[in-house]
Symmetry: C2
Subunit: 352 residues, 2 copies
DNA sequence: CGTGACTTCTAAAACGTTTTAGAAAATGTG
DNA sequence: CACATTTTCTAAAACGTTTTAGAAGTCACG
């Protein structure tokens, strides 16, 4: 591997001191214009690029910002991550910051990874996703006074740190309203048990909208999948679909669940949306390829990530001080999986 | 932000020299066991973590490996990236290497990003995806003798560098054979114009399988989408579907194309797989949610990425020398989108 | 006790950069 | 010309680590 040229070499080639070269390149005022010119030329000629390590050492900054990857089951697929990383990359590059991805090794917790990241000085800031309701990572970062931005937010304390969130409340309230207006009165919700903030927000948005409707005929049946795997989800969904009084509209906490609802409903011979309306959240690519297309909400992940990057870069660079925050409203994407509530007697499950 | 403790502080607390502390922590033989013990304890007590910049400077290594993100259109979605990044993360963490993501800023080429990465010493190695047939990035890296691993491979030279590839030839040959065995004789291929190596491999796999069948009744109709956007794809597919002698089986260069074929065919009133068989490549999540499920090939992206990470870490760490390479065979995933060729007269496009 | 051979430790240099404090040179002023 | 001022440059220190070369101490042995 070819060695790269250093400040010393540029200085030697011009018979100047390294200090002068450094300051010339840094655009300082006390360097004669002519000298600055010469230095710039020679630096280009020699292909000089400042060495990162040298800079890091003296500045105390790494120029990196970390993303701690959530620990994932072996078969977990996730359209979110690619978009998120792309957006972060775009946002950071505009600020001259680089993105590093920190992964937990087997047996290591996300918190361990975070601690190492903070203490080793490999990053100047960090972005966290999938926030739990009592998130120890947030506590740690606050203690350390280490810059961070959350994708999501805690219920308490949200004034003390920076975050960007997509309002799950607003979305699920809207989902309810759209379906209510179409005549639905018995709602199903397929959700998870993990205490993630996004779960809490979406669920409470739905609850509040129901309360607000103030209609005693409205009912909500909730199916909770205890573990984060397909089998567990499938069982929870079956429970909801096969009960005697099946809801006429089912909302999935996220698209994967909604898509599974559609698939399982179709396996039972139900036609969507005539006999069952389904709504999801996220707008994953699969949502537009399913038949019928899944009605859902667009999080604009990539754009959010870009904004998060921008916020964090400003925090790290000292451009912004106090906590920054931003709440986005997801966009309703009406496709074919929802429609008017079935009339009259509840259709029975057809035999196939 | 709390300052982290340094070697000097640990040394002072024990009344030892920094050298001794460094060597004790490094497990050198010429440190008395008792001293080693004391140092280890004190280091733990003070929460000492070696500073990255200091290490980088003296070792000449950054401990980072880069992934240069392909430049993407604003609406490009890509289930590949998330899996790939996850796999790389998993692979690198096992080797004590960190992953950095380098993104091109607007107007910058991937090659520029790569050059900066190499010259700034921010990374010790790099992984490249989406290899073009004449890839200038590969040329540059070879010139620089900078360690890298390709996801994919060039046709020429493949002995001179390291790569991991999933055999597109094998997959497309198999796709042909499966469909041929089901009676199909007129094949359609929806592909792109860009000169990517994966395109060339898959296309030539198909051609070779056709040649090998040595059956004069076999025909292949190719539709090439000139640009990488949905509109262009749609037009290419329409051309294939609406021609007088429509193929009975259409293969998409990748799943997105195959899924679009399915959707457009269904819009034309064709039933799949009775009137048209469709096969894709990649096994994106949407492939399992479409109706019918898309028959495709599984690349095992995450696992491949893990292997790539392992290869590159070995190259960077000096464990492995010469070029490493590995060719994987994708797994055929038979779902519902392919079946026996329609009998007798070619069914006409139904009016809807 | 003197010598050599170990064992255990350390001073100092090196990595490449930025910054501080001040030197040297050029210019202006009386 | 002498002095002050301004402009332009530089030596040296600092960041935190690893490594090299060697010092100091200990021990065994004749």
């Amino acid at each position: 591997m070819r060695r790269r040229s250093t400040l010393k070499e540029v200085a030697a080639a011009l018979d100047l001191s390294v200090a002068t070269v450094s300051r010339a390149l840094g655009g300082y005022e006390d360097i004669a214009p002519q000298t600055r010119q010469r230095v710039a030329e020679k630096a280009r000629e020699l292909g000089y690029v400042p060495n990162t390590a040298g800079r890091m050492l003296v500045s105390g900054r790494s120029g990196f910002v970390g993303l701690v990857l959530p620990v994932r089951g072996p078969n977990f697929v996730d359209s979110f991550l690619g978009q998120f990383v792309t957006g972060l990359g775009e946002g950071f590059v505009a600020k001259g910051v680089d993105l590093m991805i920190a992964t937990a090794s087997p047996g290591q917790s996300e918190l361990d990874v975070l601690k190492h990241l903070v203490h080793s000085g490999r990053a100047d800031g960090v972005v966290l996703t999938r926030i739990a309701e009592e998130d120890e990572r947030v506590k740690f970062l606050l203690e350390q006074r280490f810059p961070f931005v959350l994708h999501g937010r805690l219920s308490s304390d949200s004034a003390h740190y920076s975050w960007l969130d997509t309002s799950g409340e607003a979305a699920f309230a809207q989902a309810f309203q759209e379906l209510y207006a179409l005549g639905h009165r018995h709602f199903g919700l397929v959700t998870i048990e993990e205490s993630m903030t996004f779960r809490r927000d979406r669920e409470s948005g739905l609850q509040m909208a129901i309360a607000e409707a103030d209609d005693p005929t409205v009912r909500l049946s909730v199916a909770r999948s205890p573990r984060f795997d397909e089998e567990s989800h499938r069982a929870a969904i079956s429970e909801l679909l096969e009960r005697e009084d099946r809801p006429t509209a089912i909302i999935g906490l996220f698209d994967e669940l909604a898509l599974m609802v559609m698939r399982q409903a179709q396996e039972l011979g139900l036609s969507i949306p005539e006999e069952l309306s389904v709504v999801g959240f996220d707008d994953v690519p699969a949502a537009s390829y399913s038949a019928p297309g899944l009605t859902t909400f667009d999080q604009a992940t990539r754009e959010s990530a870009r904004e998060i990057a921008d916020m964090l870069a400003r925090l790290v660079g000292g451009e912004a001080q106090a906590p920054l925050s931003r709440l986005k409203v997801p966009r309703f994407i009406a496709r074919g999986s929802h429609g008017p509530a079935p009339q009259g007697a509840r259709p029975r499950i057809r035999q196939i």
